[in-house]
């Protein structure tokens, strides 16, 4: 593997991008599901029951992680572009990843 693809900065950008793609695919579905409430609370309840399966809970956890990671890594990009401080790249990325996964863990612990 070429050296440019093993650097933390590149991996961070890749995770940020893949998470963004996942979110872009998820969002229309999410909006459509919520719109079901227009048919009344029953529809939403049915929908929520149907999506109780472990597989879907894990997928939801994945989306929550994707959102948290995308935001944390995105905030890092904003910091690089707008703040006068030079980051210590490995440290900054580790913090972003840790925060993202911590949120995902909190979600899975709360939902189980």
């Amino acid at each position: 593997m070429r050296a440019s693809h093993t650097q933390p900065g590149f991996l961070a950008a890749l995770v940020h991008r893949l998470a963004g793609l996942a979110l872009a695919i998820f969002l229309p579905i999410h909006f459509w599901a919520l719109s079901g409430a227009l048919s009344g609370a029953d529809f939403l309840d049915k929908f929520l029951k149907v999506t109780q399966t472990p597989l879907i809970k894990i997928a939801e956890g994945g989306i929550v992680v994707a959102l948290a990671l995308h935001m944390a890594l995105g905030l890092r990009v904003l910091a690089i572009e707008f703040l006068p401080v030079r980051e210590r790249t490995r440290v900054a990325i580790s913090i972003c990843l840790a925060a993202g996964f911590a949120v995902g863990l909190a979600f899975l612990l709360n939902v189980v």
Binding site: P28, S35, G36, A37, G74, L78
Partner: protein
């Protein structure tokens, strides 16, 4: 043109930083012990602040997601030019319509909608 897209992307990111934080906190709080429609709607029905928040959220997403997708598609596929821009503008409109509809769905009680 692309300078405007860049600025819009960063500006919407700033809005989303706030909105996503609120949304994640809400989700983490709401899913404790399971989620029911009654709970969700109990919070959001007729709640002006939540509605305004979601509308702002949807607007920011409708700007941010298509611009991000544009970068990915231009760099990772051969698609570029006018047809890509049009497709992404349509995606933006889709997000806007579906998103506002979803916000309305959890805000407006059926009696108000259907009389």
């Amino acid at each position: 043109m692309t300078a405007i897209l860049f600025i819009a992307q960063r500006a919407s990111a700033a809005v989303l930083a706030f909105a996503v934080t609120v949304h994640l906190a809400t989700i983490l709080y709401a899913v404790r012990g399971g989620l029911t429609a009654g709970e969700v709607l109990g919070r959001t029905r007729d709640n002006h602040w939540f509605f305004a928040f979601y509308v702002l959220f949807v607007l920011a997403v409708a700007v941010h997601a298509p611009i991000g997708l544009r970068n990915v598609l231009r760099e990772w596929t051969r698609w570029h030019g006018r047809s890509l821009d049009v497709a992404l503008a349509l995606f933006s409109v889709l997000l806007l319509i579906l998103g506002i509809r979803a916000a309305l769905a959890v805000y407006v009680s059926p009696e108000r909608l259907f009389g």
